[in-house]
Amino acid sequence: MDTITFIFHQMLNFSIPLLIVALGGMFSSRCGIINIGLDGIMIIGALASFMFIRYAEGYISSQTLLLLAILVSIVSGMIFSLLHAFASINLKANQIISGQALNMIAPAFSVFVARLFIGDSIISFKNTFMIEEIPFLSQIPVLGDLLFKNIYLTTYLGLLVLWASHFVLYKTRFGLRLRACGEYPQAPDSVGIDVQKIRYIGVLISGGLSGLGGLVFVLPNSTNFNGTVSGYGFLALAVMILGQWQPSKIFFASLFFGTLKTMSAIYSGIPFFNTLGIPGNYYKLMPYLITVIVLILGPKSLAGPKAEGLPFEKGMS
């Protein structure tokens, strides 16, 4: 049981940031803008929030600090994603190139800013954010151990984002308009909806969520932030595609990825997997191999939003 709880918690470390960032990518894609700059936005979100944590550490209680840091990461991600929004919506630039530009500038910018302000490219932090136990709820058998012990606030936030994404996308007027802009922007335009505005909002949501994802990614996995998220923004794109641009499927895709990634990292420490005698490289290969297989086998359902990546010219059809 302990082992299962442990694996579950490790899996959350992988899955929750992937989930949040993939949902971010989904909002952007669904409104018609490909955002491959997720990785760069994650870095900026992490940079801003850990700079904030560094300066505010010790003045306020840790959970308040975390909440504020979450806000900082969202806002900074949004601001950074404006670059992408401006280039792809106003300037009608190639969205792949503009997204990649974000990825290239972010790590360099992070090192530069960190050295400028604190004289050190690595931002250390004290991890006091883990909630050891939530009273009452932790007494529930099985679930209590899994969900209400040794857990981060950000895990619940990830689930909240999942629910909110589903709600916004399918149950609100805005969601309908967003999806329409990604499928056939001429249609909403013909009834007087401002496509550019909707697309700006879509990209801003993706920026906010990716920035948050950067914070969530670094928090449990390190004692400092050193200007990289190890390419997890790209992995989140894969999760988004595997999840077919739908929140519920993205959720399962992120769990799937998280579990495989966890297995590939922890097999050596769990006696059960050691006795199986499978060479470590197979575990490491698995997440990628299975992704490639799924992508090859499922091209029909992987259509994606139809107008994704196409600039929209008002009044043109």
Binding site: F6, M104, A108, I122, N150, G227, Y267, Y288
Partner: protein, 377 residues
Amino acid sequence: MKKNIFTVLSLVVVFAFLSACAPQSAATAAASAEEAAPAAASETTGGGEIALLISAAGTLDDRAFNQGCWNGVKEFGDENGLSYMYYQPVEDTVEAQVTLCDTAVKAGAKFIIINSDQFKVAASKMITAYPDVTFIIFDTVPIDDDGNQVLTPNVLAIQFAEQQSTFLAGYAAVKDGYRKLGFMGGMAVPAVVRFGYGFVWGIETACKELGLDDVEIMYNYSGDFKPTPENQARAASWFQGGTEIIHVAAGPMGASVFAAAEQNNGVVIGVDSDQSAESPTIITSAIKDLETVTYNSLKAWKDGTFDGGKIVLYTAKENGVALASMKFKNFTQAEYDDLYQRLADDVDGISSAIPTDTDYESPDQIPLTCAKLTYVE
């Protein structure tokens, strides 16, 4: 549209592979090229009479060997009013490294410190191209294209007996009461391998002395030097599986192991520099004193007593290696001093018996009679 989606798909797959398999993906390599320039500019105090060259795979503020070296440079430069700067190549190829050296010399470098074994071929070209510039190179010896050693009078190749510092660490940990120990290295480069083998041998020696039969060692090279969820999860799973203490020799990746230790009540032995400020879980650090050696080399150069054209090895005898900030429960300072002295004097061949990177190809070939080693490939 379809085309677009498949462009993204192929990009995604390529990047996912790159970031997982290669230690330096195309994106990060390009990024590090950019980060070198502004970062260096903010540190410089002029043209850079002292230049530090580091590998594309490393970072300057790694809390480990690059930082130790840089501290020595800064201290000397500030004291003597000399300007200093660090340089990092776009990628670890001979061409990129030689170009980097040209840039440094053009910017006024008179003394160049090469702190990476990745530079060994490029270094041979640099030292012959610039006979008026003084070089020191750590962890390796310059070789030419045919693999022959090149030692011109303007270069000093400095090596450390890393295996002795971790021998101390492994020995102390077992004496202190730890029975299940782990070693996590970055990439299996010679210095990391020496750290690992020394650690294993220290454990084995203490195990034999105490007549124990329950000492177990986990051993792994992660394949990168980065703090990633994978490295955190691996360390966490070891702690979860009963490992009590992990020695991590992988620069920035250490942060992931510290995080895992904090979350799983484990302890860690740091590497290269005194890392005790990084996490309360660090009970000691196996250090090689790059800072002092760098400082002293610079001083010798300034005083005109620089004696190049050879290889120097810093061992316990020269105070080149040590344990820093010990927080052991049972292992005392007196025991440490005694062991250190024995290492320095090589009593009963204790230090010459420690295996080094050239002795065995993989850690499971080290003949152990007392401790049990599991090599996780």
